[in-house]
């Protein structure tokens, strides 16, 4: 059924259709509508789940972890400061191999207080062992939430479904809300590999010496390495049932592009528009939108990006003292796999500054005028 809904509600519907059994959440702007709708669904019985209204995000994730370990399908949503407060527990979820799924609304970190979008909150959690999906439309948010449960539960690794503050979270779009019966076909009930139960008493997460810890982390990485293929496979299964493919990247007009823009999130859909405009102007530009950041789509980067003469990564985030984080990772993925394709590192839209088609035009103009990047970072729209 088609509905006009906001991005936040797309997350709620995704969690509902996945038949989430336990939700534990704490409010933070701009995430609130996600959990407001879920609490209504729990109250009126649309969703048969326990909603734990915890006193902090830290407790939200702790409760999700406990519920997941007890064998329930578990969901939460947060943003920015809330995600940072959860940091310790993010490690606990992945280290405990618990397939919690969480929506995160990309919001800039304080100070100063900002409720507007950039990606530093979620990218600061890059190394916590969570899969990260960056969405570009409300439809993608809903579909990815359902897929995330399937992938997470198959690999026992948690997932973060990420959307931009306001640009998606509060923007209404037409979304095809799939039939429950078909979602049930796609996503059967959660069958945990192990769970905490008196029927089979074990200690979970106890003191682990150097003779065992290393292997546990090795296994996490090995399973994470299975994720790219599994995301594509479950994306194809999703396409068969619902007509929409859910992959690792979206490459748009990249085949004959001289300059490929690398983007993520809603900046990626703006970039598509910019690419079409520039194509009309005779510029051979493509857009490579990275939907999945963890696991990193190495194969796609190495296959698609070197087709261009130049690559320009536009980051809505920064690793202070280095570059934007997508740029870092794209460069590292291409190293020793391509010869001399210069990678331009642009930063734009921090703290919710608008990213428009002109942003990408400016990046492309710079890349056309330079054989190689002159500055480490190309700052778009900054008042220096």
């Amino acid at each position: 059924m088609k509905k006009v809904i906001m991005g936040n509600h797309a997350l709620s519907y995704g969690a509902m259709l996945a038949r989430t059994q336990v939700v534990a959440a704490y409010p933070i702007t701009p995430q609130t509508q996600v959990v407001e709708l879920l609490s209504e669904m729990c109250a009126d019985g649309t969703l048969k789940a326990k909603f734990i209204k915890v006193e902090s995000e830290h407790s939200a994730m702790a409760a999700c972890i406990g519920a997941s370990l007890a064998g329930a399908r578990t969901f939460t949503a947060t943003s920015s400061q809330g995600l940072a407060l959860m940091h310790e527990m993010l490690h606990w979820a992945s280290g405990g191999r618990l397939p919690v799924v969480m929506g995160n609304i990309n919001r800039s970190m304080a100070p100063g207080w900002s409720i507007w979008t950039d990606q530093n909150d979620s990218l600061s959690e890059r190394d916590t062992g969570w899969m990260q999906y960056y969405c570009a439309s409300n439809q993608e948010v809903l579909d990815t939430t359902i897929q995330a449960f399937k992938v997470s539960e198959a690999l026992s690794i948690p997932s973060m479904v990420i959307l931009d503050a306001f640009a998606l979270s509060h923007t209404y779009e037409v979304v095809d809300v799939p039939d429950q019966a078909i979602v049930d076909q796609y996503l059967p009930p959660f069958k945990p590999v192990a769970r905490v139960t008196p029927d089979e008493p074990h200690a979970f997460g106890g003191l682990t010496g150097p003779e065992h810890y290393y292997e546990l982390r090795y296994k996490l990485q090995k399973d994470m390495e299975k994720a790219p293929a599994l995301i594509e496979e479950t994306g194809r299964q999703y396409e068969k049932l619902f007509g929409r493919y859910l992959g690792l990247v979206e490459d748009y007009r990249c085949d004959d592009a001289e300059i490929i823009l690398v983007t993520s999130g809603t900046a990626g859909s703006t970039a598509r528009v910019a690419v079409d405009q520039m194509r009309k102007d005779g510029l051979a530009v493509g857009n490579f939108r990275m939907k999945v950041f963890r696991p990193f789509p190495f194969e796609h980067c190495r296959r698609i990006l070197p087709k261009a003469k130049k690559i320009a990564v536009v980051d809505r985030n920064i690793s202070y003292g280095h570059h934007g984080m997508f740029a870092q990772e794209v460069k590292s993925a291409l190293y020793q796999h391509t010869d001399d394709v210069p990678v331009f590192c642009a930063i734009a839209g921090l703290g919710g500054r608008d990213i428009t088609p002109d942003t990408f035009r400016e990046v492309v103009d710079y890349a056309r005028e330079h054989d190689k990047p002159e500055d480490d970072i190309l700052w778009i729209g900054v008042k220096k």
Partner: protein
């Protein structure tokens, strides 16, 4: 002819805490969990944050326990137990008792927010704080449960702790939870009876168990139970229960309230105290005792 006196074993013989675990000699926390599990039985899940008990059950892949343990983050005993309980409910297990089992640091300090949240929501869990009055697992640093005057590695003899022990029981009473109680490892039958009672109550139940720590208190392991009895007899740690934050009942009545001197003397952590300092401590104990008696008679 007088009849020979016979002792009767009133606690079940079943053990859920195995021998050969990593507890120190004379560990009160070890006894506390043994007694609590005798009352709760095998259908129990423990959520244990960072504390001595995070180590006592043994390193991966071993565990001395015959009930399952979820080792959770330091400040999450209450929130983790809340999650486990919700998860069990959703998969249809209504029978298992979920217990958060934390030390005083994890309860009085870092875990207080999560505990308050769970208590306010009246989550259907039993929260047990075994109180050895300092961060013992990290090497005897002061917590807000450390009594006035005590030495710890962060309250050296020259500057012993000059704040009184936080009144966690009053804090929990302010949450109006259905049931809470203090207990001591020197009174296992009292503890057993109260845990049995609590098991049948729905909602948040809180236990505050005095658990001697010879290692951290610089006392003799063989004095662990003796100290746990003396602290009750001198009213430093009275044994009582509170229903709905209002109805106070004294469980261990004192025939004669003993002075604290003998109790302090048996522990190295109080050895530096001068008579005038002990007098101040005694006055603090007396005041707290009077305050409690008023609540009980109210």
């Amino acid at each position: 002819m007088t009849k020979p006196k016979k002792m009767t074993l009133t606690l079940p013989v079943e053990e859920y805490v195995g021998s050969g675990n990593l507890a120190c000699q004379g560990c009160g926390a070890n006894l506390a969990l043994r007694y609590v599990l005798k009352a709760l039985g095998p259908k129990t899940i423990l959520c244990i944050p960072a504390c001595c008990w995070a180590v006592i059950d043994g390193p991966f892949p071993q565990s001395c326990m015959s009930v399952p343990i979820f080792h959770c983050a330091f400040e999450t005993a209450a929130s983790s137990a809340t999650g486990v309980k919700a998860g069990l409910d959703m998969i249809g297990d209504q029978e298992t008792t979920v217990v958060a089992w934390a030390g005083d640091g994890g309860t009085f300090d870092i875990g207080l927010q999560a505990l308050s949240g769970a208590a306010e929501r009246n989550e259907d869990i039993i929260y047990v704080c075994y109180d050895n009055e300092a961060y013992m697992n990290t090497g005897i640093q002061r917590s807000s449960a450390t009594p006035s005057g005590a030495w710890t590695t962060t309250t050296p003899v020259k500057f012993p702790k000059d704040q009184p022990k936080k009144d966690i029981d009053a804090i929990m009473a302010a949450h109006r939870i259905p049931y809470q109680a203090t207990a001591s490892i020197a009174y296992p039958e009292d503890l057993f009876k109260k845990v049995k009672k609590a098991k049948e109550i729905k909602g948040t139940r809180f236990f505050h168990i005095y658990a001697s720590c010879p290692t951290g208190w610089k006392s003799r392991p063989e004095d662990a139970v003796k100290l746990a009895r003396m602290v009750v007899q001198n009213a430093m740690f009275p044994i009582y229960e509170i229903e709905h934050g209002e109805k106070y009942t004294l469980n261990i009545k004192l025939k004669e309230k003993k002075p604290i001197d003998d109790y302090l003397k048996l522990q190295g952590r109080f050895r530096h105290l001068k008579p005038e300092q002990i007098k101040v401590l005694q006055e603090e104990v007396d005041r707290n005792w009077e305050r409690l008696l008023k609540k009980i008679s109210a």
